[in-house]
């Protein structure tokens, strides 16, 4: 804006400050340079134009008003309209963030520089007194918003120079994201506990996601990840506009998920009786995600990655704990569901009929795994086409039953790429294929006409680069495996620093015609070397780099502005109690332009 540039020429220092520090970057942002204040008494006025009109305001206390066309809450009900719980919760979080965490961005300004606006106690200092959130029908939405499956995630945000603030969205998820953006626009003031401010009014943001499916895959089997850890993950995810948390809920090493109809699974398969997710834990996490616009969905990985089932039902698992494991599995212990077994079919039926309906209460997706199926496990001979044909037919039978149960509960299934690309299974046409090995896999899935998720291990595996966790074969002869020799690297080294993650462009080389089949992507947190204690630091802020690719789009070069915005998000996450890793040292943040090569 012209006025901003004029301001900059006069006040050189201000031009070195971050203009905004939103993460992820909105699609379209214009702003000025005026200061607008906000205080804890800010109210939410919530209007759902999609309901039949009514002219009654309803105050729910603590500054929240509903204007719910005709849907008057009845006396004494605590949650008057559960449909809008998530929007109200988002507003409470925003207000809590601004005034409880009180983020003062000292680290981002030169030493001794007075970066804050002077406290203005006059009556007419512009204040945001009310945030008006309007859910409008698609008819009223902007042309840009129309015609997308994800249109309920789009929003518009306006804050005028006089402090009038409004968010318009066509669905509550858009409203939630708009409210989080709203919160990110404000800073706490170091000299006032009751005043927050922004210095870039007027603000106008038109925003929508580039991809529908924006996820984090969290492995809760290989190491203990507590439900309370997942809660913290969701809190951080909400700040990055992620909308899917994929819980890789079982694997060969442990079975942490309590399945009431198969109690032995967790009783014997969890690492310890203290390491179990009860149905209530799962529900808590899923509901917590729901209030943040995040769908928490489960993966039960079959037929491989199932050895922990053998702890309770050994007959279901072929080659359980067989050595040398390296012949039978990608990592120890070996073991896969037995093929052609009525017991296995009955087991899966019980398992899925217990778990899938619970998942379906909050999620429309269920993940059935299918990665890294090992041919040698079944002792059917070498890796010949005849062997594979036989295995394929049996795996198809197992998966067909699983798809059928999932479909009964109206779940869209997701499977790993191997089931399609390696095993050529016949999959339901709406099944989403999750690729992980390469961009080529992505192109192949698209050629087969399936919807697809990206998240290649070369860029989006957060576990990589921490070194091998395997011990060598013997002290004297470590063996030929490179992981047993210095520098003891793991198979997907190097460490994926946030720039590597940010520069991942899965769309490179794809025909635009195929892009509509790309549902989105996930960043992966496998937990061979990560547990409760270090989860935050392994996930954040790197997962946030993936979040911006998923929300704002691929192919944006990394610039210093990216660094500074991510560093600011990191500070916000730390205030939320998330032990995020670092982006850049304080000197660089305080001296813009000083750490560039």
């Amino acid at each position: 804006m012209a006025s901003l540039w004029g301001f900059c020429l006069v006040h050189f220092f201000l031009c070195t400050l971050p203009v905004t520090a939103l993460w992820p970057q909105p699609r379209n942002l214009t702003h000025g340079a005026s200061t607008v204040w906000i205080s804890p008494s800010v109210q939410l006025r919530f209007i759902d134009e999609r309901s039949a009109p009514s002219h009654v305001w309803r105050s729910l206390g603590d500054g929240i008003q509903y204007f719910l066309g005709g849907l008057l809450p009845s006396q004494g009900e605590e949650k008057h309209n559960p449909e809008h719980d998530d929007v109200v919760a988002a507003f409470e979080r925003a207000r809590g963030f601004i005034f409880n965490h009180r983020f003062v961005p000292r680290k981002f300004h030169p030493r001794k520089f007075a970066f804050e606006p002077r406290i203005d106690e006059s009556e007419n200092a512009p204040h945001v007194k009310t945030l008006i959130v309007t859910l409008t029908s698609l008819k009223g939405a902007t042309a840009e918003n129309r015609g997308r499956a994800s249109s309920d995630e789009s929003y518009q945000l306006r804050i005028s120079e006089s402090g009038i603030a409004s968010i318009t969205a066509s669905g509550s998820r858009g409203a939630i994201y708009g409210i989080d953006t709203f919160a990110q626009l404000f800073y706490a003031h170091s000299l006032s506990v009751t005043e927050g401010y922004l210095s870039i009014a007027p603000v106008h943001i038109v925003d929508r996601p580039a991809f529908d499916h924006r996820g984090v895959n969290l492995d809760i089997s290989r190491n203990w990840i507590a439900p309370s850890d997942a809660i913290r993950v969701l809190e951080a995810m909400a700040h990055c506009k992620f909308n899917k948390l994929h819980l890789h809920a079982s694997d060969a090493q442990s079975w942490p998920l309590d399945i009431p109809s198969l109690p032995g699974l967790a009783e014997k398969g969890a690492y310890d009786s203290s390491q179990i997710w009860s149905p209530e834990d799962l529900r808590w996490v899923q509901r917590y995600g729901q209030l943040r616009g995040i769908e928490v969905y489960l993966e039960i990985d079959i037929p491989g990655h199932t050895t922990s089932v053998a702890a309770s039902q050994p007959e279901l698992i072929a080659s359980a704990y067989r050595e040398p494991w390296i012949t039978y599995a990608a990592e120890p212990p070996a073991g896969q569901l037995t093929l052609g077994s009525a017991d296995v079919m009955a087991f899966l039926k019980t398992l899925l009929n217990d778990l899938v309906p619970r998942n379906a209460e909050v999620s429309s997706h269920f993940h059935l795994g299918g990665d890294e199926v090992n041919v040698n496990v079944y002792g059917l001979g070498s890796d010949s086409s005849a062997t594979k044909d036989k295995i394929r037919a049996e795996v198809q039978t197992i998966m067909d039953q699983a798809f059928e149960i999932a479909s009964k509960y109206k779940q869209t299934t997701i499977v790993w790429e191997e089931l399609l690309l390696e095993w050529n299974l016949t999959l339901p046409s709406n099944t989403i294929i999750q690729t992980w090995r390469s961009n080529e896999a992505l192109a192949q899935v698209l050629d087969r006409g399936h919807r697809v998720l990206f998240g290649a291990s070369t860029h989006w595996y957060l576990d990589c680069g921490h070194g091998a966790w395997f011990d060598p074969a013997t002290p004297e002869r470590p063996g030929p495996d490179p992981r047993a020799s210095p520098p003891y690297m793991d198979q997907c080294a190097p460490y994926k620093n946030w720039r590597t993650i940010y520069s991942y462009n899965p769309l490179e080389g794809l025909s635009p015609k195929q892009r509509h089949l790309i549902a989105g992507g996930e960043v992966h947190m496998w937990t061979e070397m990560t547990d409760s204690e270090t989860l935050d630091g392994m996930l954040w802020p790197r997962a946030a780099a993936a979040a911006e690719v998923l929300w704002t789009g691929t192919g944006t070069p990394v610039s210093e502005d990216t660094t500074r915005r991510l560093a600011e998000l990191r500070e916000r996450l730390v205030l939320e109690g998330v032990k995020a890793g670092m982006v850049q040292m304080e000197w660089c943040l305080r001296n813009k332009g000083g750490c560039t090569v």
Partner: protein, 602 residues
């Protein structure tokens, strides 16, 4: 009794002392320990014969010079006055309190080291440890808490009989402290409460391979609170390291209060509240010393001093040159103390006179830095105006001579980075310890010149490496920079750190000059939030190499197969102590013995 040689087979039973003692044997009897177990402390007997590697006690008739139960849960001692030296008594007293805290309050249930359906010992059959006797066998030097390398004998013996009598004997209070640390590692928490060991009877003889075993923490590039530092020192001590090197100033910030030069921290700290006050600094030094850890303060000079320009601009040349900072420094901001300036000399005189007397109650060393001095910067130095080594070298010699003379006059021994000796070819006093970081060859060169050396090759023992480049790229450079690795990638996992032998390439006749080494935590990408997992348990791998040596009793490189479950257990002990250390393996790998081996053949 099982001897140490068979330990790997029983690793999953939890016999994990880290670092591994010289000699260690144990049985399988369960003993419990109660919170009111008496500790007795006796001084003035014979001595432990360290040299033979077996236990020979002289003057075995121990007189009861001092014989008293000692119990003091509040032994922080931070109210001691600044000049009061710590005594051996202080160390033992503090260690007893810590032992109690560790066993009864900061312990863990070891389910990760047993198969899924394991049984814990049954409390109803409990035999309790009756007493813990601590026996100091010799008079000890006055500076027991701040010794020069090799002065204090840290060896100890530990004996736990099957009927519950514990005896720790040592030639110094520090040895007693180390023995008590080992003692705590025999115990686990029971899920129903209480603490037990499954290893009685136990016999340990232990002594360190190297006298200088340290961690270097950079608190300038990012600020760490007093509590962050104290927590790190606790972990250092728990790994039997005995040096904590505080790289306390650098170009980016000056967090140390210097009353005689108040502007340094007032203007040079990142924020006015991110400062170590005189009292904070004393508390930190005390906290280290009382655990037998000597805190070594480094004021890096003449490079890495850019921040001084914020308060004393006339002292610094080439201050924050942009954008071509890389002509003048290894990382931004550039800036170096002028090399031929009486004002700089006066400044340093004042600085040392203020700071060093506050260090000498707690340490015998002072580190004057000297790494990465950029010669181009002196072209912009109005007292030099040259980058010619022939001009600069004599000036550097004078600069370092002045500094070291003052360090000595204040009773301390200087430490410098290797460049001062190897790149600048300075003549250094025989007392000076030279800290190497660039290569094994550098270590060999230092000792060949007759100097004492510290190791810590950056390709093995730099804990910051592998997290990716933190510098931003100009748009034109960004595309070619993928995958944005840093200068010392890859990440140095514990195995790489553990595979480093401080004596590599050092001829036998010079090996006595290798005093030990340090693992380095540079803080470009580390702050209080991620400190613990950046340092631990990887620094523990270095700690074992320094305490136990890189070779086992048979002269082979130490086995990762044997070390890995023990390090996993140390990690759990650190987490129980409130240190957010990283896991190195899945529980699956440690619950089932060594089944996570590559190429394992059944």
């Amino acid at each position: 009794m099982k001897s140490l040689h068979f330990l790997p087979l029983f690793a999953s039973l939890g016999a994990a002392i880290w670092p591994i003692p010289v000699e260690y044997s144990h049985g399988e009897t369960v003993l419990w320990i109660s919170e009111d177990v008496p500790f007795y402390w006796t001084a003035g007997a014979g001595n432990v014969n360290v040299g033979s590697g077996s236990l020979i006690y002289q003057n075995a008739n121990i007189p009861n010079v001092l014989h008293r139960p000692r119990w003091n849960d509040d032994a922080s001692g931070e109210n001691k006055t600044g000049t009061e030296a710590l005594s051996g008594d202080d160390l033992v007293n503090y260690a007893i309190a810590q032992t109690h805290r560790t066993i009864f309050k900061k312990s863990f249930v070891p389910w990760k080291f047993h198969p899924r359906d394991w049984d814990q010992p049954h409390p109803e059959e409990a035999i309790y440890i009756s007493q813990v006797n601590l026996e100091l066998l010799q008079d000890e030097p006055e500076d027991v808490a701040k010794p020069l390398a090799g002065v204090v004998d840290e060896s100890y013996t530990l004996s736990l009989t099957e009927d519950g009598k514990t005896t720790i004997r040592a030639n110094s209070s520090v040895g007693i402290v180390r023995g008590l640390t080992t003692f705590t590692q025999l115990f686990f928490k029971h899920s129903l409460g209480g603490a037990y060991t499954t290893l009685a009877p136990v016999e340990v003889f232990d002594a360190p391979k190297f006298p200088h075993r340290g961690l270097n923490l950079d608190v300038s590039r990012n600020f760490f609170s007093k509590n962050d530092i104290k927590r790190t020192i606790d972990a250092v001590a728990y790994n039997k390291m005995n040096r904590f090197h505080l790289h306390i100033t650098d170009s980016q910030s000056w967090p140390l209060e210097i009353p005689a030069l108040p502007g340094l921290s007032e203007k040079g700290a990142y924020r006015p509240d991110l400062v170590y006050s005189v009292q904070d600094f004393k508390d930190i030094q005390y906290h280290a010393a009382v655990q037998g850890v000597e805190l070594i303060t480094e004021i890096d000079m003449p490079g890495h001093t850019s921040v001084i320009a914020l308060s004393y601009p006339d002292l610094i040349a080439a201050f924050n040159i942009q954008p071509n900072w890389d002509m003048y420094a290894a990382e931004p901001p550039s800036g170096t103390l002028k090399l031929n300036s009486s004002a700089v000399n006066d400044f340093l005189g004042t600085l040392f006179d203020d700071l060093l007397p506050r260090i000498s109650p707690y340490s015998s060393y002072f580190h004057t830095g000297g790494d990465e001095v950029n010669k181009n910067a002196y072209e912009l130095d109005d007292t030099v105006k040259s980058n010619d080594p022939a001009v600069l070298q004599p000036l550097m010699q004078k600069f370092v001579d002045r500094n070291h003379d003052q360090v000595r006059s204040l009773g301390l021994t200087p430490i410098v980075w290797e460049e001062m000796l190897l790149d600048w070819n300075l003549t250094l006093g025989e007392d000076v310890i030279v800290q190497s970081w660039q290569s094994d060859e550098a270590v060999a060169q230092i000792v060949a010149k007759g100097h004492k050396a510290l190791v810590g090759n950056y390709q093995y023992w730099y804990l910051d490496c592998g997290k990716g480049q933190w510098l931003d790229f100009a748009p034109s450079a960004a595309a070619n920079a993928w995958p944005y690795n840093d200068y010392c990638a890859p990440f140095h996992n514990w195995r790489l750190i553990y595979s480093y032998d401080p004596l590599t390439g050092v001829p036998e006749e010079h090996q006595h000059l290798v005093l030990g080494g340090e693992a380095h935590m540079w803080a470009e990408q580390t702050d209080p939030v991620n400190l613990d997992r950046m340092v631990w348990p990887r620094a523990a791998a270095a700690a074992e190499i320094l305490w136990s040596g890189a070779k086992d009793a048979q002269g082979r490189n130490r086995s990762q197969i044997e070390a890995s479950p023990r390090l996993s257990e140390m990690r759990e002990r650190l987490v129980a102590k409130g240190i957010g250390a990283e896991p190195i393996q899945m529980p699956y790998c440690t619950m089932n013995g060594t089944q996570c081996q590559l190429g394992y053949a059944s």
